[in-house]
């Protein structure tokens, strides 16, 4: 693989939450993204997986500069995006695009499919010939598996899966180099999810895109990722090559996520999951556990986990993990 196109270093986003009335006004900090680092090569797919509230969408927005980070850097092709002004950042976004979770809600219901896909073209190339825009729009529709003769239809005339195809066509209209997909299939039927995952896989290979695919379910990212970043409460628990992660996860949290995926085999399901052992909920963001942030839900915790924060460290395999016990635990699937 070539050298990384995207380099994220120690990225952190903190939100301030204000509660109470005038007299008891209290400000509390929520560390939504808490020191995330990774690199992404051209043509590579990184899956980012974690439960809702783990900060994965905030991370995506911070990478695109839609939210300004409190700390850290986002380097795109060697250039630091966090230092750019509005206009320079806007120009960069031609290369960095995003597809959202809810395919229907993220499309303007009063615009036709063609207008939705062409809008970024008009925005960035206002002098482009009308015919040229239409040709490009029809080309994009074909590429994502829509019929070009549906160009004048409105979003409500399409199914959820087709709306997501419109969202993808729009994101790709400017020929970006990086595509971030934020839970692109979680609102879709299982049968349609597979269509969209296969489509993204094909497009990525064809266009040589760097792809970040965000999901809350490890089974969904498996078929598309080269590497997977497992996130929990704003931090990276594990960053592993796909082949390693799905054979032997290094972090107990990755293992828990894996065990939660329903198995479409009644006998196996009953045997494997006599009980789901990831008990309890994610702690409140205001009461972050000391030591390892996962320790209160971890079945493998030892005293050390309650006191020391495990650093994200590189294993011999080249995978990264933040767990004190990574060497001794065998979490083979």
């Amino acid at each position: 693989m070539s050298k990384p196109v995207l380099r994220v270093q120690d990225l952190a986003v903190t939100f301030t939450s204000t509660t109470g009335g005038l007299l008891q006004r209290r400000e509390r900090q929520i560390r939504a993204v808490d020191g995330i680092s990774f690199e992404l090569n051209a043509g590579e797919t990184l899956g980012i997986v974690g439960e809702s509230g783990c900060g994965k969408s905030t991370l995506a927005r911070a990478i695109l500069g839609l939210i300004s980070p409190n700390r850290g850097r986002v380097q795109w092709m060697g250039e630091d995006l966090t230092g750019l002004d509005e206009e320079a950042l806007r120009q960069k976004r031609k290369q960095l695009q995003i597809v959202f979770q809810d395919p229907v809600a993220s499309l303007d219901p009063r615009m036709t499919a063609g207008d939705i896909i062409a809008e970024p073209l008009w925005t960035f190339y206002p002098h482009m010939e009308r015919l040229q825009v239409e040709e490009r729009t029809r080309g994009m529709m074909k590429m994502v598996g829509l019929l070009p003769n549906q160009i004048n239809r409105y979003p409500h005339e399409f199914s959820g899966g087709q709306c997501q195809r419109i969202g993808i066509a729009r994101a790709l209209a400017l020929n970006p180099r990086l595509l971030i997909c934020d839970e692109p299939v979680s609102a879709l039927d299982v049968s349609i999810q597979a269509q969209i995952i296969n489509l993204l896989r094909t497009l990525q290979r064809k266009l040589g895109l760097a792809l970040i695919f965000i999901a809350h379910d490890l089974s969904v990212v498996r078929h598309i990722s080269n590497r997977v970043l497992v996130m929990y409460m704003g931090q990276a628990m594990e960053v592993s090559a796909k082949a390693d992660l799905y054979r032997r996860p290094l972090h107990p949290y990755s293992n828990a996520l894996m065990k939660s995926v329903p198995i479409p085999d009644p006998e196996l399901a009953r045997r494997v999951r006599a009980e789901s052992w990831l008990t309890g909920d994610m702690p409140s963001p205001f009461q972050r556990p000391r030591g390892c942030i996962f320790h209160n839900r971890c079945p493998y915790r030892i005293n050390r986990c309650e006191a020391d924060v495990p650093a994200l460290r590189r294993m011999e395999s080249g995978d990264w993990v933040a767990c004190h016990r990574a060497e001794e635990l065998d979490l083979s699937i």
Partner: protein
């Protein structure tokens, strides 16, 4: 006798574009203590089917058919009679736990109200009962947490609260419409485990509605696969997972991304989209997406029936099945 016996159920919606044929002749039953899963894509009619039975269709909807609950036809009941059954004898849980709970009231208030209204309990008794139910669905510190508002609960806990509210009156039938679809996989696993426990520890009958076959593998006794408002295949959970007959069922099974098999291949997707319920094609509604479709699929597919309630609606013969009827839905039927 089954607890719920549905036959010939049809649901239609009048829309400015025409009549939407949402449910096209459904027959099924749910036995006492049995868990039935109804599986299908959006638009398959699975939600409207139960909404019709519960008398909760939108204003432009109309239903016909018979739905015998404990021998009485729910479809013939007056709204007042139905209200007496809903909540008390049949409880329903919907997909989105946040919109089903009142954000302005504490969990305590919402639960006590149900228990007092439906069971005629005094306030103290109702409260004790509510705490007990929260404990049953594994809400930590139920005595404390019952005093909180919905927004203070996580998504998974809210859905467990909804189940607890559903269980307050010890209903004979619990209907859960995509109870874990909007939730994280970890929470889905918790809800699945909870449903599994209810199934083992109570005599309650359960109907689970979902688009994800994998989600019900562990906890159902029987499964109905629906497509375009019709049953396309039904059987025991083992029949459906280990001996699927209908190409649509096989497609649904193949499109599930799974971790229990080593495979980096492309996922198997079902091509195309569900049919437009305004203009259902005559013949098999799945034929445009079916890899095994032939000229014969332009005719209404035959219904095959086998032992133990096994059935499939397809031109392909069903193992050990007999043709009972060829039914027409769509342009020239219904």
């Amino acid at each position: 006798m089954a607890l719920l016996e549905v036959s010939g159920l049809e649901v239609r919606f009048d829309t400015p574009e025409g009549v939407v044929k949402a449910v096209n002749g459904m027959d099924f039953e749910v036995g006492e203590g049995e868990t039935l899963a109804i599986v299908g894509e959006s638009g398959a009619g699975k939600s409207q089917l139960v909404m019709a039975i519960m008398g909760l269709l939108a204003e432009n909807g109309s239903a016909s058919g018979v739905a015998l609950f404990d021998g009485e036809d729910l479809m013939q009941m007056k709204p007042r009679e139905l209200r007496g059954i809903r909540g008390r004898r049949i409880a329903m849980i919907f997909q989105d736990p946040m919109t089903s709970l009142n954000p302005y009231l504490t969990i305590e208030k919402q639960m006590i109200e149900v228990a007092m209204h439906h069971q005629g309990l005094a306030r103290d008794e109702a409260r004790a009962h509510a705490v007990e139910m929260l404990r049953a669905v594994r809400i930590p510190d139920p005595e404390e947490r019952i005093r909180q508002y919905p927004h203070e609960y996580s998504g998974g806990m809210r859905q467990r609260v909804m189940i607890a509210i559903g269980l307050l009156c010890e209903p004979e039938l619990l209907i859960a419409d995509e109870p874990s679809t909007a939730l994280d996989v970890t929470v889905q696993a918790q809800i699945t485990e909870l449903v599994g426990r209810l199934r083992e520890q109570t005599r309650m009958s359960i109907i689970l509605i979902t688009h994800d076959l994998a989600a019900v593998a562990e906890v159902s006794d029987r499964i109905i696969v629906m497509y375009a408002g019709q049953m396309v295949e039904t059987g025991t959970v083992d029949d459906i997972f280990y001996r699927p007959q209908h190409p649509y069922t096989r497609g649904l099974l193949a499109s599930v991304p799974r971790l229990d098999r080593v495979s980096d291949d492309e996922l198997q997707a079902i091509p195309g989209n569900p049919p437009n319920l305004l203009e259902l094609p005559s013949g098999c509604p799945f034929r445009d997406r079916c890899s095994e479709a032939t000229e014969g699929c332009r005719q209404p597919p035959p219904l095959w029936q086998g032992e133990g309630g096994r059935a499939s609606r397809c031109v392909l013969p069903m193992d050990g099945g007999q043709i009972v009827a060829a039914e027409a839905v769509g342009e020239d039927g219904a």
